[in-house]
């Protein structure tokens, strides 16, 4: 019965949504509201105004930088949420639960991972620093770093990876994305602009392009670092299986 009602409800919803779709502006036409409003300016002026050839990066970090600040806060929030649910590994006691993780694997796999991980890290750096000219950016780079640690952890176990990225290094850096954004934002005040203004009006004209570029890169690095640390911490919190055998309550 419940199944039938749900099916009917969802079917009706689907029909309604399809009807709405049929009334929407045709996709891809150049005279759609989406193509004629707001966006042309981004496409035409972004390079001059944000000094990033990649318009998407320009929008993310500059025009809509505050959204991105929200975004890094969301991911930071997710970390805090995961930690609030699962708890962080305790300082110093990490050995207790190390042996539970780490898949048994052959020498070939272990060697390959050890060889590949540095290259992945290098690639992530490229992604971070090249974000403004090509697809990529801070968060993607951070995610790549996180992915490298996932591979590493699955093969070598939590203990070794937590030695490589110890808590005392990780936890202060987890908020670095938010902090960077905040600092860059506040610097905007002192440069005579608003929060998150990159092109400080008070600084002489000649400095502008370089300043904007450097601030953009700074933010990218902050996002990358913070994102990576957050992902690694989430990973550790989830891999950790302390007292997993018996139900707690």
């Amino acid at each position: 019965m419940k199944r039938l009602v749900s099916l009917l409800f969802i079917g009706a919803l689907a029909l309604l949504l399809l009807y709405v779709v049929s009334r929407m502006p045709p996709m891809g036409e150049p005279d759609n509201p989406t193509a004629t409003r707001v966006v042309p300016r981004y496409l035409e002026k972004a390079e001059d105004e944000t000094h990033t050839p990649n318009v998407v990066t320009g929008i993310i970090l500059n025009y809509r930088g505050f959204d991105t600040m929200g975004e890094v806060t969301v991911i930071y929030c997710a970390l805090a949420a995961v930690l609030a649910v699962l708890g962080r590994e305790r300082r110093g006691r990490i050995r207790d639960y190390v042996e539970l993780s780490g898949l048994p694997s052959s020498v070939i796999v272990r060697t390959m991972v050890a060889l590949v991980v540095p290259f992945i890290l290098l690639f992530s750096l490229y992604t971070i620093f090249h974000g403004e000219t090509s697809p990529g950016g801070g968060f993607q780079g951070g995610a790549v770093i996180g992915a490298s640690m996932i591979i590493f952890t699955t093969i070598y176990g939590l203990h070794l990876s937590s030695v490589k990225v110890p808590q005392r290094f990780r936890s202060p850096l987890e908020g670095s994305a938010v902090i960077t954004f905040f600092l860059v934002g506040v610097l905007g005040f002192f440069g005579g602009g608003n929060f998150l203004t990159y092109a400080w009006p008070r600084v002489s004209e000649g400095l502008h392009p370089a300043l904007v570029t450097w601030l953009t890169v700074l933010v990218e690095v902050g996002i990358g670092l913070g994102g990576a640390m957050v992902l690694i911490s989430i990973l550790f919190a989830m891999v950790r299986e302390e007292g997993a055998d018996e139900p707690l309550a």
Partner: protein, 121 residues
């Protein structure tokens, strides 16, 4: 007909409903989370398709890139944020699942909630 022309949107909507169905009807909570992700992805598909432009090129300035032919970069920027949000929600949901599994030893939603009724009654 517009629906045919907008088939990207239509697919997104159908995916959305499939995701919703999964969330509502599946009893396994991991499948519910998968359904959630399907819903999210469908909306991303929807938004990216809004930004599509016939014969468009990537919105990156460079030699030979004509701004008037570039696709709409705004939805892409929004989707990046959206993806991060989706990842965050999924991470939280999965950690809740871990905890639920530790405590109840089951992923079956009907068993989770049947117990609740027993406790209440």
């Amino acid at each position: 007909m517009n629906l045919w022309h907008n088939f990207h949107y239509a697919v997104a909507m159908v995916l959305f409903c499939i995701g919703l169905y999964t969330v509502i009807m599946r009893r396994n909570i991991i499948k519910k989370i998968i359904g959630l992700n399907v819903m999210e992805t469908s909306v991303f598909l929807f938004l990216v398709s809004i930004g599509y432009r016939k014969g468009g090129i990537a919105p990156i300035h460079g030699p030979g890139a004509d701004p008037s032919r570039m696709v709409n970069p705004l939805p892409q920027a929004l989707i990046l944020t959206g993806i991060v949000v989706a990842v965050s929600v999924t991470a939280l949901a999965l950690s809740l699942v871990i905890l639920l599994y530790r405590q109840f030893g089951t992923l079956d939603v009907s068993r989770l909630f049947r117990e609740e009724e027993e406790e209440a009654g």
